[in-house]
Symmetry: C3
Subunit: 338 residues, 3 copies
């Protein structure tokens, strides 16, 4: 049962309760249309008027409002909303043990109960923790270890020798543990270098759809606990991503790069191989780092510069044609004078 | 039977017939090698000589040619070719009802007849329109609605609560409805924000292989009718793409961005979140829009500028080292004088 | 049996043997920890000290070392390592014929023995060479030809009319033969142009996870023998990639582009449609080529310039704000004087 009292919700989010804590709440609701069994939220002064006339049972807010609804005052409405919404709309989690008859599971696999395994899933000689939900057409190789309460969405592929912690979420068509890109050239052609490492993924990692994490060449590729990596990202062999680092869609980390903790990368950012990005670095979307970044801070562009400078560079680029025209002209004058 | 008379072909493309309209045509053919049951086309004066001696039964052309073939004169050979080629090589469409015995279909699914459902497909409590072709290993969640004559190529994943119109084509390994990328930070770690919206896709939309469309956070992500989105594109949560917009491979639209109708984006273009791109905007390949573009027109670069200026910027960038060297030198002189 | 004498290993890599050639080697090992049945390697002077005390049976090295291990002296340790590692850790290859009972294979398919076909694989009216390993949930259409000893990792999709040579390796969720991106515009909407060509892939080609190769519009898309294309790359319709060309992750080749032999593209490089890139071109990561590159060499940037100039451009870009500020100021002065 997911129904909760307003008081219990306030406790869940660490908020201060104003008004009736005994009302029972059954879900989220729009403060303009929902009724007394819903909890709404107000993040924006534009909704203060709507809050005044709302019929919802409770409101999450960071300002005390004039309203008949119970109020749960919190410092950060976004965090409170995330927690409350996750209570009413949790990630899938296996409660009952259900394995679809079309799934193909190696007899030597170790499947803790309860798990849910969908149609046409394939699981090798691997270990799957309790609570995991393995959706349709997922394929998992041998010597894989998944912690508890993981969710693999349809068509995810996990190669051999990948290890992930608890609450690992991988969206549709992710590929984890594919061969790193390693070849040795000899007289114009290429010898494949076998990729003998694995992938190690911490707890609470989420990977977006179509994202690929390659296995290491000799050692492992490592994704730290708490990392969130969006769609269509690429993490090359032997890369190491520190804890709680977040990368938006299309980011690419080249081989053996070491990205620190608590990075925040905008979409389509990238870094070169074998470099180091410090902890606490923020990269604006589209940033391309060819060299190590040693200091935390906010960078953007190609080359990455501090964001304020980036904005000025963008402005200057637009004027480049005129700047160059005069520069060319000045040379012609000089030449003319010569 | 796909055989058609030349006259019927001329009517299909709205062309003017010259010559024998009663000949029967059975397919496309190269005007240099094919015989009288083929229709060829001439888009380029280089082929006028070949047209003179051709044995094909009919030619699509925008100029009257000296040839024994029947001629179908049209204003736009490309459009006429697309129509004629689509007649002889149509997209797959279910005529007979055929469900592969290995497909796993929820007993509460509503499958109109006829449809084709391939091996290992998985369909939840959803509605599939007549004429649809669901290929091998496609997985469809619950509360999905597909219109008529859709084609889902192998390994496509559709999450719950996605709605698509008629003639929706999604190529291999597309993912539609994956969770948007939303987290709320608290003391260095991240709380997942449940993604409660869906995806709404109009009629006549085609998605390339590996493309991902995320579901909305609260409202829906919307792809307008007639949109064509190439391979490995990413459309983030709550984005809205206007009708008949075309994006080449690798384009990325960040969260809550609103892209207008009849846009034409070159490959690897992108726009930032929460901005607006007007109707009728063309972006050259690799364009990166961080701010709204309010006027239709042709833009390119980073920042996006009008295409002519972009070309001049590219030229200027090449000269930057010398421009900078003189600039540095002039400062050294100044310093020396001081 | 993969066990080999040191002498046989030396012969395999064309190296000069120093010491006992009769020792039997059973695998790779770290020279600091492994025992006499392992072969180690030394690429870096930092390991010379470790080599002195090593217990491994043999060392691959390009310098004669002070060590009790047998030594195999080679000109290129990387190549020798690739060969030795591939001996002990070869790519999967079917030795025994094993078709999983859940695989769905067209009765008219031609499957040479031995092959391995995994669970839930789907194979149309196609030809699969001996030695191939088709992993779980791979789908192959009709009129596909695969040579010998190919490996298709899970979830790979091959559309109809794709032809690949021997030792074709395609990683998870690759899509080969999807429709090229072709539409003809008429009054604001788009007519699909049927994509009637195929894909032709040579011998010894490897494709990374999530990579997409589109089929040609009329003729074929062609990937030359020996090409290695990393994760999440896109090769558009009718592109031609010359032999032994290597592209790191995220590269994109637009339609009808012709890329030469022995190219080496850094990650996220791209080229425009209908252009030609010469043989022997190296592109630094993130390079964007809008025009043909006629001369072999090393290019980088957007526009691509020789690498040395690229480094100077990057440096100049950082100074642009000040350069522009003075330029603006000089104009204001001029205006003030006027």
């Amino acid at each position: 049962m997911t129904e909760l009292s307003v008081r219990a919700l306030a406790e869940m989010v660490g908020g201060r309760l104003i008004g009736d804590g005994e009302r029972m709440i059954r879900g989220l609701g729009d403060l303009r249309t929902a009724g007394p069994e819903a909890v709404g939220f107000v993040r924006d002064p534009r909704y203060h008027e709507a809050a005044r006339g709302t019929k919802v049972g409770a409101l999450l807010t960071d300002h005390e409002l004039a309203t008949d609804a119970a109020q749960i005052l919190v410092a950060d409405v976004d965090v409170a909303y995330a927690k409350v919404a996750s209570h009413f709309h949790p990630m899938p989690r296996a409660i009952a043990h259900r394995v679809h008859p079309t799934a193909v599971i190696d007899p030597e696999a170790t499947i803790e109960a309860p798990v849910q395994i969908g149609p046409h899933a394939v699981i090798g000689r691997s270990r799957i923790g309790a609570g995991c939900v393995i959706m349709a057409s997922v394929t998992i190789g041998d010597d894989v270890e998944l912690g508890r309460d993981c969710v693999l969405f349809p068509q995810v592929t996990i190669y051999d020798r990948v290890r992930a912690g608890d609450r690992f979420y991988a969206h549709g068509s992710c590929v984890i543990g594919s061969d790193g890109f390693g070849y040795a050239p000899e007289r114009g052609s290429w010898h494949k270098v076998p990729q003998l490492g694995g992938v190690v993924i911490g707890d609470d990692v989420e990977l977006g759809a179509g994202t690929v994490i390659d296995r290491g060449a000799m050692n492992d590729t490592v994704i730290g606990s708490g990392c969130k990596i969006d769609n269509l990202c690429h993490i090359a062999h032997n890369a190491q991503i520190g804890e709680n680092t977040v990368m938006a869609a299309g980011c690419m980390v080249a081989g053996s790069a070491k990205v620190g903790k608590n990075n925040l990368w905008g979409g389509r950012s990238a870094c070169a191989g074998h470099i180091t990005i410090a902890d606490g670095v923020r990269l604006g979307g589209g940033t391309n780092a060819l060299r190590s970044i040693r200091e935390p801070g906010e960078y953007m562009g190609y080359p990455p510069v501090e964001k304020k400078r980036f904005v000025r560079i963008q402005k200057a680029i637009v004027d480049l044609p005129e700047m160059r025209a005069e520069w060319v002209e000045s040379h012609e004058e000089t030449n003319g004078e010569a």
